[in-house]
């Protein structure tokens, strides 16, 4: 719509949100059933077999909905329906969304600090929790990384200065190339933009490949698994959720790459690129905290 500055644009009704909600219901209902059918924990036994297909259908449906929803948004953007005001709304929305993601990681970092600073010493007999130590696990030695749990599980810690260091270099470099790409986009230097965005993608996917390598190493050689006590729990949950976010960010940047090849995203209209770039910087910062708190110290 031609944007008279004082006129607001209200987007058309859309079928995608409500279908996405339904798809998410199918996905989650399937996921809960699937997990229970496969769970070896003995907490629940679920005999059904519908969990996996239902989960798969849910995943496909959510992906399809994202495709349609984003397709509509991209079409509207290309038709210049978005006023400047909407652009600002999108930007603010993305930033607040990233803040919510920060808080999500905050919960897991909080758990890590709480365990390291309080729980492990208490289990080792310090402070007011002394009786747990005396009565339940008198031979437990407090340490971090927790290589021997109170119940006697053992594991080895993941050293910081091998793969994790390389991964740090990869991610930090990718943030630099992405920033160069961003500036190129603003200055309308399309060649430089494509090259640097491509480099970012190569670095990002290399990170993911090395991260998989690291997990294989942990499971196979170090005996470090999700089940090896609180060290394994915090290690895999923090790095795992981070890896998931890198994957999402990499997919977003891949989409941006192909949109740029198609000629989308101009110096004056590139919110999608910025959102993806912010997201990428955010996972980068999370990684730096991970490297320091999980791998190094």
């Amino acid at each position: 719509m031609a944007t008279k500055p004082t006129q607001y644009y209200v987007p058309d009704a859309s079928p995608w949100p409500v279908i996405t909600a339904a798809a998410l219901f199918i996905l989650f209902y399937g996921a809960a059933s699937f997990i229970q059918q496969e769970s070896g924990s003995g907490i629940v036994q679920n005999e059904g077999t519908y969990g996996k297909p239902m989960f798969m259908i849910g995943v496909l449906a959510v992906l399809a909905m994202m495709f349609f929803w984003f397709r509509d948004t991209i079409k509207e953007s290309l038709a210049h329906k978005n006023s400047n005001q909407m652009d600002v709304s999108y930007r603010m929305g993305m930033l607040w969304f990233i803040f919510s993601e920060v808080m999500f990681f905050g919960a897991f970092f909080g758990a890590l600090f709480y365990v390291r600073l309080l729980v492990i010493p208490w289990l080792g007999g310090a402070g007011e929790e002394a009786m747990t130590h005396e009565l339940l696990w008198p031979s437990f030695q407090p340490m971090w990384p927790l290589e021997i749990t109170p119940s006697g599980e053992t594991t080895q810690a993941m050293p910081a200065w091998g793969l994790p260091l390389i991964n740090t270099i990869l991610l930090v470099t990718s943030s630099v190339t992405l920033t160069i790409a961003h500036h190129a986009l603003i200055n309308n230097e399309r060649g430089k933009l494509k090259l640097n965005l491509f480099l970012t993608l190569v670095l990002g996917f290399s990170f993911l490949a090395l991260q998989i390598e690291e997990y294989i190493h942990a499971y196979r050689d170090l005996g470090l698994t999700l089940g090896s006590g609180i060290y394994g729990s915090t290690f895999f949950m923090l790095t795992g959720f981070h890896g998931m976010h890198v994957t999402i960010g990499a997919i977003m940047l891949t989409v941006m790459f192909f949109r740029i090849l198609k000629g989308h995203l101009t110096p004056s209209n590139h919110f999608a690129f910025e959102a993806a770039a912010w997201y990428w910087h955010f996972v980068d910062v999370v990684w730096i905290f991970l490297f320091i708190c999980v791998y190094w110290l």
Partner: protein
């Protein structure tokens, strides 16, 4: 004003009237449609959660077991709490925000209308999971969640029934819904204010919602984090809440209450906003201490992040921890007191009239204050060692939530209903609803203080004989309150669906101020397509 409001004449196809039939609701992007859906959803959940409460009170009417077995009793209290907190109170406030914030700011709609639609439709999806679980339990197929609305580990990890995993994903959906809804509110407030509507001119309802939305974005992800840890502890072998693996069940409580305490303020800050809109109208005086209200709200929100362990005084925290949380909690009473003072000062020497929204608001101020006082008693660590997990706590949070949050929602509905529908509710029945609610809510919750102080624990289906008489009266109050809410249902059906009631003017209430009252009643489908100028 109405030339802006009725300005449909430009050629944008998005600005025609509502779509026909079910599509209007399924594909809705209009803030009024979405707000109405939120409000009706919340009311249905209120009646559902209320029905469960009736069963709880029927069981507790007499000592001994009469209707349900203890395990099912626990499922009733759990589902009741979850439905009321996440299904009734929170969506009602989101509904009011959707409907009113654009009208109050002179905005055409919420900033992100499709996201808004998604936020709403996630809720029926989330709650059908919980409701399927409790229905299955009614039918004797499988247990519903039975660990209380606070779902402490290891009750919910090692010992949680199969439905726990569905509960976890249900919470994930509620969380996505709340976060997206809150993002929408914040962006609307920051980006869609009419020219001249500076932050410090915004109605207090908008201010309180801005801060609430911030709290939501900050703590709902933490809730998502804690249920995720539960899921992996249950099925993927992690030991977050298992001391044998180096974790700690108390960690659960820390993470949960880091979410949980700001959550209780999420359920009361918008209530403050509603009451701050209504009292000046019927006292015919501007709100006393507007700026101090804003700052008090912000400091409550800030402090709410550093008091969470007042829920954990009996778990054996270090002494310094208990003391810190005690003092911080007491500090919260200061800005809360500022608010109560300002409401009373607004009424002081006002030309007061007592229409139904005002009656509910005055009841709010008094009864919420009682709840605040019992909160202060609970904040005293050594005393709480005695009160914790007794009916005294139940009395405290029902005073702040039922006669606080829910009374404010009802007040807001009576206040804005004429603006939404163009018709006045039936004054006699509304007053009847008020007096019945007021008397019954006190009969229901006040004696809980006494049985709590005398040591009756919460979350049991049976109790010692000396509590019998009080519990009988409490149950009578409960049924009375429950039935009274059907009066509200009747009033709403009359006004909304049977189109009964006297037509109202644009102004509706003589003393009301704000942009929403400059619009026609009912407000047209699209309002403020071009922004009004606020002087």
């Amino acid at each position: 004003m109405s030339e802006h409001a009725l300005d449909h004449h430009h050629d944008d196809h998005a600005h025609h009237g509502p779509a026909k039939g079910i599509k209007r609701w399924l594909f809705a992007t209009n803030h009024k449609d979405i707000g109405a859906m939120y409000l009706w959803f919340s009311f249905i959940m209120f009646l559902t959660g209320g029905a469960l409460a009736m069963l709880i009170r029927a069981e507790l009417m007499y000592p001994g077991l009469q209707l349900v077995d203890p395990n099912f009793f626990n499922q009733l209290t759990t589902t009741h709490g979850l439905i009321m907190v996440f299904g009734a109170v929170m969506p009602a406030f989101v509904g009011l925000a959707n409907y009113m914030i654009p009208l109050m700011l002179g905005a055409p709609d919420m900033a992100l209308p499709r996201l808004n639609n998604w936020s709403f439709w996630l809720l029926p999806a989330a709650f059908s999971m919980l409701i399927i679980a409790i229905i299955k339990s009614f039918l004797g197929i499988a247990d519903a969640p039975n660990f209380g609305w606070t779902f402490y580990a290891p009750l919910s990890t090692k010992f949680g029934p199969a439905s726990t995993d569905f509960f976890i994903f249900s919470v994930h959906m509620m969380g996505i819904s709340s976060i997206m809804g809150a993002v929408n509110v914040i962006v609307t407030i920051f980006n869609l204010r009419a020219p001249g509507m500076t932050l410090m001119k915004m109605p207090l309802f908008v201010w309180t919602w801005l801060i609430t939305a911030f709290l939501l974005i900050a703590v709902m992800p933490v809730l998502a984090g804690v249920v995720t840890m539960m899921l992996t502890d249950r099925h993927f072998g992690t030991s977050f809440f298992d001391a044998a693996g180096g974790g700690d069940p108390v960690l659960f409580q820390h993470v949960f209450w880091f979410f949980g305490h700001p959550e209780v303020y999420i359920m009361i800050l918008p209530a403050f906003g509603i009451v701050s809109a209504i009292i000046p109208t019927f006292a015919r005086k501007p709100l006393f201490g507007y700026a101090s209200m804003v700052y008090a709200t912000a400091s409550i929100a800030f402090l709410s992040f550093v008091v969470w362990a007042h829920h954990m005084f009996t778990v054996g925290l270090p002494l310094a921890g208990n003391l810190f949380y005690m003092y911080m909690t007491m500090l919260i009473a200061v800005p809360t007191g500022v608010k109560v003072f300002n409401w009373v000062a607004t009424m002081w020497r006002g030309a007061m009239t007592f229409e139904v929204p005002m009656l509910f608001s005055i009841a709010f101020v008094i009864l919420f204050t009682i709840g605040g006082f019992s909160g202060l008693m609970l904040a005293i660590t050594p005393v709480d060692q005695q009160y914790h997990d007794t009916y005294f706590v139940v009395a405290h949070f029902h005073y702040v939530l039922v006669s606080g949050a829910i009374f404010s929602i009802i007040a807001g509905v009576y206040y804005w209903l004429p603006k939404w529908t163009g018709r006045m509710y039936n004054e006699f029945w509304a007053k009847f609803h008020f007096w019945n609610s007021l008397l019954s809510v006190n009969l229901l919750f006040f004696p809980m203080h006494f049985v709590g102080l005398a040591g009756m624990p919460r979350r049991y289906s049976d109790y010692a004989l000396q509590f019998a008489d009080f519990n009988w009266w409490i149950s009578i109050g409960g049924f009375w309150f429950g039935v009274s809410q059907l009066i509200l249902l009747g009033i709403l059906i009359q006004v909304c669906f049977r189109k009964k009631g006297a037509p109202v003017s644009d102004q509706v209430w003589e003393g009301a101020e704000g942009l929403e009252w400059t619009l026609p009643s009912p407000a047209p489908y699209h309002t403020f397509s071009t922004p009004p100028i606020v002087k």
